[in-house]
């Protein structure tokens, strides 16, 4: 819909919304591949420029979010001069930031303490596992899409996701007694 607005109406406002919507997700993703914030910002900006230049074809794109992630990935790989190397992307050495892990006072079910436990549990995961978890949780990508982006198999994504869930689930497990009492009040 947004992309149709850009494609059909040359709408700069819609373009801006698209930028605001995806820029904050695409830059950290690019950072995890090229390991440089400046380079990542430049790459994402370049991708958005191409989007504007080719806006007439934009309504032919089926899955815009995945398209953007793929375009960013491809450009990152070109920058790394690594386009022939189709093995898994090396994402070591960069910490993955999670934006959705904060304590929300209105959300009484998960305490600040539990959030800290969860943060620690995630930080202890290997970087690749963290990135996969972030792409699924915060960017809402499908396993299949993450697999394609990172040149991994869907089975690997499934495994990495269950490892992440196990670690987080186990970390907050002692909290469950507290949770149980909250639920039984209902």
């Amino acid at each position: 819909m947004l992309q149709q607005a850009i494609a059909c109406f040359d709408d700069t406002q819609a373009y801006k919304q698209l930028f605001l919507l995806f820029y904050p997700s695409l830059v950290p993703f690019a950072v995890s591949i090229v390991k440089s914030k400046e380079l990542a910002e430049e790459i994402v900006s370049d991708v958005f420029m191409t989007i504007w230049q080719k806006r007439q074809q934009l309504d032919k794109v089926d899955n815009l979010k995945f398209y953007l992630f793929t375009a960013v990935k491809n450009r990152c790989i070109t920058h790394l001069n690594d386009s022939k190397n189709k093995t898994a992307i090396n994402i070591d050495g960069v910490s993955v930031e999670f934006r959705s892990l904060y304590h929300d006072p209105e959300q009484k079910m998960i305490s600040a303490e539990a959030i800290n436990k969860i943060r620690t549990a995630i930080q202890d995961l290997p970087p690749r596992c963290q990135l996969i978890f972030k792409l699924v949780k915060e960017e809402g990508l499908k396993y299949k899409e993450v697999a394609e982006l990172l040149h991994l198999s869907v089975k690997t994504i499934e495994n990495q996701m269950s490892i992440a869930f196990r670690k987080i689930g186990t970390a907050i497990n002692y909290k469950l007694h507290h949770l149980a009492s909250v639920f039984s009040e209902n």
């Binding site: 040359d10 605001l20 499934e158 996701m161 869930f165």
Partner: protein, 389 residues
């Protein structure tokens, strides 16, 4: 895979189970299934397996609830940072003389008198579109503390999600409930979804996995029935071109009321369904509004493999048809599944009965399999498939 005249082959469903070839410890399997469920990647079979696995394990159930809550925490928007980056981006585009003039559309250079209304309408449409994309993109991009500029996007009109023919898709509602929307279907809900009731309207078919919340009943409105639940798994099929509207319950409990027939109220148990004729208003005129017309029936299991429930098989991308279905009824299902339009130039072909299932097959493979049985010819013109003797 097509079965005909009692030919018995291996069931696809069982084969795919065996193909995994791995036996898990229960806990390993629990984490795998749980991560899939919460990420929205689990099939209906896997959801049921998880349900069975956690049945007598309240601790696991609590873990599931806590992780679902964590999953629903929204991602705070980095609007200001992104807006700054956008200004830099626009400067760069202008330096590189990429034609981009902020604040006006290229088309608006040509002013046509009397066209203002159209432009206003286009703008309203655009705001709707923007709001929808943000919604479809998911709860994770919406922030509770929205900046005033973003508030402009909030749409007073209902949110409407629709699928084309041939493309079922999965949606997560604001309360965390999952809906698989079959091809050619539309689901609509108001912005205040979940405040008092969780109300949606459905045309077409959806499989619902509703998060339990007794204080906010979940109601699905269709043209002829309303379905009310508290938290459960069920399928609702309400295609206007079908003869029946159906509600099928997998687990939990479910209440069906038939519009304009106050006495027609049904409480379903798991593995039951009701089928309500779409012309029930006309039937009502004949027999009166008081006597109940409809009885609950059991769900139909595919007789080649006792684990496949026909009513919900589409969620796993299976097209299953039973022994008593005619080719023309199957063709209607194939229309939706493959996004085609099958036309019979010879009705005799369409009257023949068949049973079987398609899973991975393309439309060409499916037609070829059917041809093995029925000896017909077909012609493809665009999306139309014309079947001749």
């Amino acid at each position: 895979m097509i079965f005909f005249n009692g030919f018995r082959g291996k069931s696809l469903g069982l084969m795919s189970l065996m193909n995994t070839g791995t036996f898990y410890m229960t806990a390993d399997r629990f984490w795998e299934l749980l991560s899939k469920k919460i990420s929205g990647e689990a099939s209906v079979g896997e959801l049921n397996e998880l349900e069975k696995l956690t049945l007598d394990k309240p601790d696991w159930k609590k873990t599931e609830e806590a992780l679902s809550l964590l999953w629903q925490q929204s991602v705070p928007s980095l609007h200001d940072e992104a807006a700054q980056a956008f200004e830099v981006h626009v400067q760069k585009m202008q330096q590189l003389t990429v034609g981009f003039h902020q604040g006006e559309t290229v088309h608006s250079n040509v002013e046509i008198p009397g066209k203002n209304n159209d432009r206003l309408r286009a703008r309203t449409w655009l705001i709707t579109a923007v709001a929808m994309v943000i919604f479809v993109a998911g709860v994770f991009v919406l922030d509770r503390k929205m900046s005033p500029r973003q508030k402009v996007l909030v749409n007073p009109r209902p949110v409407s999600l629709s699928t084309k023919s041939g493309s079922p898709s999965k949606i997560q509602l604001p309360d965390g409930s999952n809906v698989w929307l079959n091809a050619s279907s539309e689901l609509t809900y108001d912005k205040d979804f979940g405040k008092n009731l969780r109300e949606v309207s459905l045309t077409g078919e959806g499989f619902f996995d509703v998060v339990r919340d007794p204080e906010h009943p979940f109601i699905i409105h269709t043209k002829v029935i309303d379905v009310k639940v508290l938290g459960t798994q069920f399928n609702v099929k309400a295609y206007p071109e079908d003869s029946y509207t159906e509600a099928s319950l997998i687990r939990g409990s479910l209440e069906v009321t038939v519009n304009n027939r106050p006495n027609e109220k049904h409480f379903l148990k798991p593995n039951q369904k009701v089928s309500v004729p779409n012309n029930i208003d006309r039937l009502s005129e004949k027999i009166g509004k008081t006597r109940p017309l409809i009885v609950a029936e059991p769900l139909t299991y595919y007789h080649m493999d006792s684990t496949t429930i026909i009513e919900t098989s589409w969620v796993d991308n299976k097209l299953v048809f039973q022994e008593n279905e005619t080719f023309s009824e199957v063709a209607l299902k194939m229309d939706r599944r493959y996004g085609v339009h099958i036309i019979f130039s010879d009705e005799e072909v369409g009257d023949q009965r068949i049973y079987g299932s398609f899973t991975e097959e393309t439309i060409d493979q499916a037609l070829d399999a059917l041809r093995e049985v029925f000896k017909f010819n077909y012609k493809k013109i665009g999306n139309d498939i014309i079947i001749t003797q």
